[in-house]
Symmetry: C2
Subunit: 470 residues, 2 copies
């Protein structure tokens, strides 16, 4: 198999058969089925500039048996299935390029069991992260992964999501203990038991995490939980240059400071925040940090970080373990998204992300800023700097063909830049449709191995076709 | 496919063809090939009571191209290949039940590059963990995973090894960033780039980690490194009961104390140590702890742990951050293996491990001790208690059929006990030949999915056949 040869083809799907499948699902699911135009549009309207490609129908599943039934019927008619959570994907994961059925998981939103002593929780995929943490409030435990959006746990699992505190708590790959999955042939499997570790066979849990709905549909997720930290301290400090800021990050990690969040903002992002939030932050690269632990531990971490940042020219490091003051210090980060939008209110915001070894973060960000300047693109940058991951929030007029072309070319360059620096074209957004074309450049013939896995799991290619690789 | 139907069969392999393959390899590899009886025996003499099943020849590879050549030749003759590291496997991973070639990785022992700023190192699979840490000495960095034996990094990757400090630093699945692998069809792939996280496609890295040489042969491994802690404190405390000890462990984790090691010993193990090391430890369940951090942080962690252990009846908690004194406190743990052997010097030591949710650890250990008492088996217990993982070091007279039968029955019961408690039949030793029969009970029809993956990767089943599942 050649990595360049697409396994996706409209020849795999017969429109007449898909129509029959839709008819059958309508009969079987009644009120749980819809093919109204607005519902179809809702199910591909995602936070992306990829054009919507509508499914032929939507099934609102309520149980794993519903999921199994949809899969079995779709299998019979070789009809594509696209799992849908809250629709916060950036990369066109939810489109239906070959038609088919969107399977809406939002009604599978039960928190099934908290195992307090084991620091585990079992949830259905439609549970959102905010819902989960609200539910856990009185247990003293929390689920740390925070990709920004109030995403569904199923969607976060499918895209291997992470976010601001991955530097301390890891990504979804580190926090999913086990999954229950309906496989493309309609079987229900569990990928692991509830032990914290196991060496019993292939790691199907990790294979499913990040598989973007192409290998099966998750119906139950067992997650790790953590004790809510006794004290949370937050801080903020400006640096003379991008390099100084990232050097401070590298030193912080090397020194073993267990920083919970360490977020970078470039000058454009700081300016955007100043304008939007009426603040007076120095117009310079900014780091925002958060420390979790006991009072004396966060005091020590904050002081150590203060010393390190000062070694790299960090100015006026402010920090506090008072919640209200901490929120004020972190306001710049909380307002990042809306402040970007306000830079160019008429534009669409297209967010892309790459991730590089941390030693290359400064180069990658600096070259990307220069690239945007040269090409007259506006894209404030926020970075989960401890992981070497950064986002560019490009503000694009969708109706301006030239801008769209410039965006396309920029996206190729930033991905190739990250790959050249031994990084990845996507740190946490997933591949979907948007990043497929970089997979071969990033991973070479390993993509063929992925295709083999796909074909072994799903010979009729009914699960979310057209995603993840060409 | 039925989970009970074995995919392994001697019909897949033609002894005549294997002979021709051996001849060809001998010609191609000259001095790097051996089929002397003693070399063949060495390559299946592992730390296990499984009977040796010899390969037909051993190739000592030196480069990835050598590996590729062996795989291509073995493919041509449909000849099994069994990767060999230092031979510290417990579960018969290195046996050649269908004959074939042992591929000895020990000469691929180069540490290729340390990325100081990125806290990464790239090594060949024959590098051992002690060799790696010795090499890293002057960098201020270390590689934490410590399965006890001076295992090869390749072997640790293949079995998803962990050990005493997995509670803080994770297992091999958490610390392998990327792999270079020769696939069963002779291609060289890399599973990921060097970014700390990525959501670019299927997680081939994690699929390979723990695949026990059945999906390919690792030729390069990129590992995470950590800053050597400024201070290491160690402590020791005895408890009235197993339950009190494990409750103290649960509370320690829930309190968010970032304990680096938290090891449990049952009374039999403590007695064994007292006898062997001439110590006077109370004959009671024992916890040994280790804390990493700054002086004030380890002081705080130690004090907090002292309070928690005292809440659960812990007596005479001693701790120190002086290296020499810490080694004295931890002597019981360091002497565990040899003290077990001394309990019954004429016996073989057969080590088995299971892992359960931490809330079940006390029950699982207690029932296992009662089981051994009822069946007159001797097996001191050591547990990586923070993970819910424990080892029984069974002392067995190999020449006594009745004892061997009792051992076999015990191994079934302990595995089934762990699985019933939502745990796993193997926390860190892997499946190999020894635990294959429990896979279906533990993972049900997920085993079929594993078999599908195996067949997609390796249709001729040349890679380490007869391991991992029936």
């Amino acid at each position: 198999m050649d990595g360049n040869t697409s396994i996706w083809s409209s020849d795999n799907y017969d429109p007449e058969s898909i129509k029959l499948c839709v008819k059958k699902l309508k009969e079987e699911f009644g009120q749980q089925f819809s093919d109204s135009q607005s519902i179809l549009e809702q199910h591909t309207h995602t936070m992306t500039i990829h054009e919507s490609e509508l499914p032929n129908g939507v099934v609102f599943v309520e149980t794993k048996e519903d999921v199994q039934k949809v899969v079995n019927i779709c299998n019979e008619y070789k009809c594509p299935i696209i799992p849908f959570g809250v629709g916060s994907s950036f990369e066109g994961h939810l489109n239906a390029p070959f038609g088919g059925i969107s399977i809406d998981m939002n009604n599978m939103d039960k928190i099934l069991k908290v195992y307090q002593d084991d620091l585990l929780v079992v949830v259905q995929p439609g549970v959102t992260r905010e819902q989960l943490n609200k539910y856990l409030r009185y247990t003293g435990l929390f689920f740390p992964i925070d990709p920004g959006a109030n995403a569904s746990i199923g969607g976060m699992t499918a895209t291997r999501a992470s976010g601001t505190n991955a530097v301390r708590y890891g990504t979804m790959k580190d926090n999913v203990i086990a999954l229950e999955v309906v496989t493309p042939d309609g079987q229900i499997i569990k990928t692991a038991n509830k032990a914290r570790k196991s060496s019993a066979g292939y790691d199907l849990t990790r294979l499913m995490v990040g598989s973007e709905g192409t290998l099966g549909i998750t119906t139950e997720i067992t997650l790790k939980l953590y004790g809510i930290p006794e004290v949370i301290a937050g801080g903020r400090v400006s640096f003379p240059s991008v390099k100084d800021a990232t050097d401070a990050v590298i030193m912080t990690i090397q020194a073993g400071i267990p920083v919970a969040r360490i977020e970078f903002m470039d000058i454009a992002q700081v300016k955007a925040v100043n304008d939007y939030s009426k603040t007076n932050l120095p117009e310079a690269p900014l780091l925002l940090v958060e420390f979790h632990g006991s009072q004396s531990s966060v005091d020590e971490q904050s002081e150590l970080f203060g010393e390190i940042s000062s070694d790299f020219g960090g100015k006026d490091f402010e920090w506090t373990s008072n919640n209200e003051d901490r929120n004020k210090l972190w306001k710049a980060r909380h307002d990042a998204y809306w402040s970007c939008r306000a830079v160019r209110p008429e534009a669409e915001l297209y967010s892309t992300d790459v991730c590089v070894p941390i030693s290359k973060l400064s180069d990658c960000i600096t070259e990307t800023i220069e690239d945007m300047e040269q090409n007259e693109l506006i894209g404030p940058i926020v970075s989960h700097a401890g992981d070497g991951n950064f986002h560019v929030a490009l503000l694009i007029d969708k109706n301006n063909k030239m801008e769209l072309d410039k965006l396309d070319e920029f996206l190729v360059r930033i991905s190739e830049r990250a790959i050249k620096m031994h990084g990845t074209c996507t740190g946490e957004h997933g591949v979907g449709q948007g990043k497929r074309k970089y997979m071969l450049k990033e991973l070479g013939n390993a993509v063929n191995v992925m295709k083999k896995i796909k074909e072994a799991f799903d010979p009729h290619k009914i699960m979310n076709p057209g995603k993840l690789f060409l």
